[in-house]
């Protein structure tokens, strides 16, 4: 068995998969999580928005999952179906391709983000259109689709309200998988619309219903005449070649019904083996994601149906580091993810920092796992992600496919440390942890350290308190007091007990 602190020999390093929108020099310069978090923590409007939003989602989700008295059995089935899929992924992908093709669709394979962008751009170009509709899709975000299209002179038109909101502010990015504009409150949305939305009245109120209605006209006018649309898929059924889109807003339905050409882009891991397997996932996803028994609109389609919907259907399957994650025996569990965002909403870290510090692609607990798994831990930013957690375990409790996120985080931390060990100059932390382990590794060394520590503590303290700890430990005393140091350690007390029962062995 390969020890987990050595990288699996299978799979490729992310750099060999070519540049993607989120890879390369930009990511190498990206701030570590702790630095980005500090900025995010100071954004008081976002903190308030996030606290309210995640609390509401937690409550809805808890109610919806409690109502399903077989929830735990569904989770176990979901986990098993996904594991089965991943361990037979090549076979299921081939089956999927065959079924889609037989139903009149065309399957394309994209090894990395750049290739996916090229394929989709070409498909759009082939239609002669210079505008495309888009439906919310995490993988489209991941591959930097908008930038790729624009470089080719094609204008991507987002059809979702949240995407509209995020898109109006240059440089803004989605902060949540399902509610990408969660970091904006109504007043901010009102401001954005009044400023940037053509035709929006200056006295626009900040009522969400009115704001949505204002956006509706602008969004709808794009949709009816459109010829090409790009959407994602929540699930791809290998057996039948069926794609599934779960939504509430209805823009998905518009995009997969009205245009002549539909392009669906999805990660390899969206595959499920059979149509019957949807009976599990169509229960897990709505409840875990939105706290609903079923979302307002779920659509499934297979290839092309003459007379109903697009006459051309393309499925673009994307790797972009997923096979790296697949190569990791433990880490592949992260590919079970069905993008419900339940982990985000229970994470006390995410609640306070929002999605941006996790990087441009995957936010929250699952993001702290998926990003280093698919991209490696060489950049400081990626290496910081596994540490963006207290390992409290709230995420593992709610994950509908039972991904043990804290366990994966610890394994990734091991990978970070191993990669740092290989460096010629040890980091201060590495030196300290080695010394600590060495001290703790032998009783006598440990006892000497205890006695010395007690002496130092008394030297450092003033009036029975330690005001400031030295060096790195000073971060503790930046915000917290340290209790009065004890006069003697526990074992010193034990040694000194008169006629102690039990005693030393």
């Amino acid at each position: 068995m390969t020890p987990s602190f050595e990288r699996s020999s299978a799979g490729t390093t992310p750099s060999s998969q070519g540049p993607g929108a989120a890879a390369g020099p930009a990511r190498d310069r990206a701030p570590k999580f702790s630095a980005a978090a500090r900025t995010a923590l100071a954004d008081t409007r976002q903190r308030a928005n996030l606290a309210a939003a995640t609390a509401a989602l937690r409550a809805r989700r808890a109610a919806a999952t409690a109502e399903a008295d077989d929830w735990e059995r569904l989770r176990e089935a979901g986990r098993a179906i996904k594991d089965l899929t991943l361990l037979n992924l090549d076979a299921y992908l081939e089956e999927l391709e065959g079924a889609v093709t037989a139903a009149g669709g065309t399957v394309h394979w994209a090894a990395d983000a750049a290739e996916a962008g090229r394929i989709i751009t070409r498909l759009v170009r082939d239609t002669g259109e210079t505008e495309v509709l888009k439906v919310r899709s995490a993988v489209a975000q991941e591959i930097g689709l908008d930038e790729a299209l624009r470089r080719a002179g094609i204008v991507p038109r987002d059809t979702g309200l949240a995407e509209l909101i995020v898109g109006l502010e240059p440089g803004d990015r989605p902060s949540h998988m399902l509610y990408p504009a969660m970091h904006r409150n109504r007043a901010q949305v009102r401001e954005l619309f009044a400023r940037e939305l053509p035709g929006a009245p200056a006295d626009l109120p900040d009522d969400p219903e009115i704001l949505a209605e204002t956006a509706r006209a602008r969004l709808r006018e794009r949709m009816l005449p459109a010829k090409v649309a790009i959407c994602g898929a929540n699930f791809l059924v290998a057996e039948t070649g069926t794609a599934v889109l779960v939504e509430s807003e209805g823009n998905g339905r518009m995009c997969l019904t009205l245009p002549d050409t539909l392009i669906t882009v999805a990660g390899l891991e969206k595959t499920v083996p059979t149509w019957a397997d949807l009976e599990v996932f169509l229960q897990l996803l709505p409840r875990a994601a939105a706290g609903e028994r079923m979302t307002a609109a779920t659509s499934t389609w297979t290839g092309v149906t003459p007379g109903d919907g697009p006459s051309a259907f393309h499925l673009v399957l994307v790797d972009n580091g997923r096979t790296s994650a697949l190569a990791d025996e433990a880490g592949r569990a992260a590919l079970r993810c069905i993008r419900c965002s339940a982990c985000l909403d229970v994470c006390p870290v995410y609640e306070r920092t929002g999605g941006h510090p996790y990087g441009p692609v995957h936010p929250g607990p699952i993001g702290a796992v998926l990003t280093p798994l698919t991209r490696g831990v060489e950049s400081a930013a990626d290496a910081s992600l596994p540490y963006a957690s207290t390992l409290c375990g709230a995420c593992a409790d709610v994950c509908p496919v039972k991904i043990d996120i804290p366990d994966l985080l610890v394994r990734l931390r091991g990978r970070v440390v191993e990669s740092r060990r290989r460096r010629p100059v040890p980091t201060p932390e590495l030196a300290m942890m080695r010394t600590l382990a060495w001290t703790l590794g032998d009783r006598r060394r440990y006892e000497v350290a205890l006695r010395r520590g007690t002496r130092w503590a008394r030297l450092l303290s003033r009036g029975g308190r330690i005001r400031r700890l030295p060096g790195l430990l000073g971060r503790w005393t930046d915000a917290r007091d340290v209790p009065a140091p004890p006069a003697q350690s526990f074992r010193a007390w034990w040694e000194s007990r008169p006629g102690r029962p039990g005693g030393r062995r």
Partner: protein
């Protein structure tokens, strides 16, 4: 019965009062407490921070120190969880199946689960006339699934008024190395924990992990919050402070 005490390295060094309390409590209940002196650290900090090779060494040391076959009791839920759930993973990561086997044979209990499940007691004859809020630490809540065992013990303490802590299950923000590596988020989290504590009008916060208590207590103290912290063992022993 004879019980081997695993006091945990940070308790040994910083919170010896907890160890003394466990000893006093178990002896008061008529049991024999032994302290295998070779014990140092279970390796949790190294494991969770990513120093997996070092963690394996410390785990081996732990199994050797406690190889005597006694039931092991510890006032650290996080350490108990480490031995119970992390040791098999530590062993796997190190490619050491022998370590996994040895670890599996260890009967390690956190104090509250030992009292309730093994000794079958909830009334330990304690007295602690204070208003107490109980914070379930993440390891005790999720890894060990202690449930209401600590509450059942606290309810039997004479004079103790137990008050409910709002959002009790929310992590306090300590998270081991997290408190250093993500100090700002850690402080933001404890700020909310402190806020919830102060909403209760408790004058003592109780938990089964001193690491979390040090973090919460340190923040309360810095803010002059008027609430102090006490480990469950100290309340049950009727002894207090270091």
């Amino acid at each position: 019965m004879r019980v081997a005490l695993f006091v945990a390295c940070f308790n040994d060094a910083l919170f010896p009062g907890t160890g003394r309390a466990v000893t006093a409590l178990l002896e008061r209940l008529g049991h024999e407490v032994v302290f295998p002196a070779d014990q140092t650290c279970c390796g949790q900090m190294h494991w969770t921070t990513g120093y997996h090779r070092e963690a394996a060494g410390l785990a081996r040391g732990f199994t050797e120190a406690f190889g005597g076959g006694d039931v092991i009791v510890t006032p650290s839920a996080s350490c108990a969880a480490t031995v119970r759930h992390a040791y098999p993973r530590i062993a796997e990561a190190a490619g050491d199946p022998g370590l996994a086997d040895t670890a599996r044979d260890l009967a390690v209990y956190e104090l509250a689960e030992f009292l309730v499940d093994v000794l079958g007691v909830t009334d330990v004859g304690a007295s602690f006339p204070h208003r107490v809020a109980y914070h379930p630490t993440c390891h005790s809540l999720r890894s060990l699934a202690l449930g209401d065992r600590p509450l059942r013990l606290l309810r039997q303490v004479k004079g103790l008024e137990l008050v409910e802590l709002p959002a009790a299950g929310e992590c306090c923000g300590f998270g081991g190395s997290f408190a250093m590596k993500n100090a700002d988020v850690s402080v933001a989290m404890v700020a909310d924990k402190v806020r919830h504590i102060r909403e209760t009008s408790a004058d003592v916060v109780c938990a089964v992990d001193n690491s979390c208590l040090a973090h919460i207590g340190g923040a309360l103290s810095r803010l002059r919050g008027g609430v102090r912290v006490a480990h469950l063992a100290e309340i049950l022993a009727g002894t207090e402070a270091t």
